[in-house]
Amino acid sequence: MAKAVVTVVGKDQPGIIAGVAQTLATHNINILDVSQTIMSDIFTMSMLVNLEKLDEEFNALQDDLNAVGDKLGVTIHTQREEIFDAMSRV
């Protein structure tokens, strides 16, 4: 496993990026790229993160991010990068 995409969507409020980044840091995960906008009050962010050493721990990371999402009232998806690549490239 190499990279994953973390997407965060929900009502904007202080602390969303901090919460997500903190969780990633706890799992010792490096953020490679971030793109974030606010569309009519809706916070949307996608992050590309490095999962090099995380083969075993993917589920733990996903569970923790889901818990953070619940706390912040946003939806967080954590998915392997290949799925997006496969669908968008020939």
Binding site: T44, F58, H77, Q79, E81, I83, A86, S88
Partner: protein, 447 residues
């Protein structure tokens, strides 16, 4: 990577019902044949539970990592009639129970392959298996059966068709819903991951992973963006969407095969509906411009859809196989059910539609007092369409005792609910009772 591509993928799953319909492990049982049915049944159980032990957990983990639901995990096996060549109909039950027990032990949703290939005639095992079907399907829970009664190369076995009409009636007398677990094929394919027709052909490798992808909702949403455009734009849009959907199957199948340590077989891109609104092939046809599915123009719209799905899928996968196309089951498709209830979609129109899509008369409820020979004649018509046009056709017709036209029959879960449809009441008995064999069409002689 573009953010909008990420959003597009997530929406396909969250709002448009994109799913991997099935990850199906095909397992050859040719090396399980022993001296007695009991010993063979034991070997079958052992082989299936050994190879498929991790199928469900591996599929669930992949589901998590990709964020794409895998709706069913299934197993297909070598047609049991080949494995049980010496068995009596009573012996056959050992095999049916071995399959059912193994499927339950590994936690899969269905196991297919309680099958016989009789397009040219019956061997001992074929007849024993067909005679055992009513008991096998009602005494087990997860076993699915398929019988191939015709092929372009061999012609159509009318004796088998007669027998299958009687068998369907015999199942009906034992159960209201077990008929949904059996399908009668012409030109059956050997790597089909979809049920009830999945079996593991004899030319397949020992163990293989095949994947079935679906997403009529995704296609419908894509077509909503090209309203009023010329029809070739519709074809192009379906093609591009089919490409994306099939890629998901390719990625999931490759990873599943790798983790299970077996070969990756094929991706079957079939627009297979579920009873959920927004996951309907009928709605896709209506989006192309029909007020309701079943009206004039339905066959043309379906032909375009089926063809464009195949073209997009072929480009997206290393190996495309199975049925690949559009499915038109009535009970599993909310739009089809509406059209039948409204009196717009008839059996005759459904038959016409099957000449241009990937399957046949599927999940159609009919009155319980329909004659066995009439059911056989429906099978014969479908087989004729398949054999003459070099394509697969299937019949899953569901007579239910005590029902009349317009009643609803519930089959549970993904199998949905079907309105009982009108059947032509004039007899076909003298035709079916002739028995014998319809010769293969002239264009099958290509050597």
């Amino acid at each position: 990577m573009e953010t909008n591509q990420i959003t597009e993928t997530i929406n396909m799953v969250a709002e448009e019902h994109l799913d991997i319909r099935t990850v199906t492990m095909g397992i050859s049982l040719l090396d399980t044949i022993a001296g007695t049915p009991q010993e063979t049944a034991k070997n079958i159980y052992t082989k299936i539970t050994t190879y498929a032990e991790k199928l469900v957990p591996v599929a669930q983990q992949i589901e998590r990592e990709f964020g794409i639901p895998i709706t069913n995990k299934r197993i297909s096996v070598t047609p049991i009639a080949l494995i049980a060549g010496k068995a009596s109909p009573d012996d056959m039950l050992y095999y049916a129970h071995a399959l059912d027990d193994a499927a339950k032990a590994v936690g899969v949703d269905f196991i297919g392959g309680y099958s016989a290939l009789v397009q040219k005639g019956f061997a001992n095992g074929d007849l024993a298996l067909i005679k055992s079907i009513p008991r096998a399907l009602t005494e087990t829970d997860l076993v699915m059966s398929s019988i191939n009664i015709g092929s372009t190369k061999a012609g159509i076995n009318l004796d088998a068709i007669k027998l299958m009409g009687e068998t369907i009636k015999a199942i009906t007398d034992k159960s209201d819903t077990a008929n949904a677990k059996m399908v009668v094929f012409a030109n059956a394919v050997e790597d089909n991951p979809f049920m009830a027709g999945a079996f593991h052909g004899v030319s397949e490798p020992d163990v293989v992973i095949n994947v079935g992808v679906s997403g009529p909702g995704v296609v419908k949403r894509a077509l909503e963006k090209v309203q009023g455009e010329p029809i070739q734009i519709v074809a192009e849009t379906v093609k591009k969407t089919a490409f994306k959907i099939t890629r998901v199957g390719q990625v999931v199948g490759t990873l599943a095969a790798e983790r299970l340590g077996v070969e990756f077989g094929i991706v079957d891109l079939s627009l297979a509906p579920t009873p959920a609104r927004g996951d309907s092939v009928a709605e896709v046809l209506e989006e192309i411009g029909l007020e309701m599915v079943g009206t004039h123009g339905t066959t043309a719209a379906l032909m375009l859809l089926n063809d464009a799905v195949k073209k997009g899928g072929v480009m997206a996968s290393q190996r495309v196989g199975g049925l690949s196309g559009a499915f038109i089951p009535v009970s599993e498709d909310a739009g089809m059910i509406d059209a039948v209830k409204a009196g717009v979609l008839s059996l005759a129109k459904l038959e016409a539609m099957t000449s241009v899509c990937s399957v046949g008369l599927d999940m159609i409820a009919i009155p319980g007092d329909t004659a066995a020979t009439t059911i056989s004649a429906m099978i014969a018509d479908e087989a004729a369409i398949g054999v003459q046009n070099n394509k697969t056709t299937a019949v899953r017709i569901l007579p239910t005792n005590g029902t009349k036209v317009g009643d609803m029959v519930d089959y549970g879960g993904l199998l949905g609910t079907a309105p009982v449809m009108q059947v032509v009441e004039k007899s076909s008995a003298n035709f079916i009772n002739r028995g014998g064999h319809i010769p293969a069409p002239i264009h099958s002689f290509k050597n």
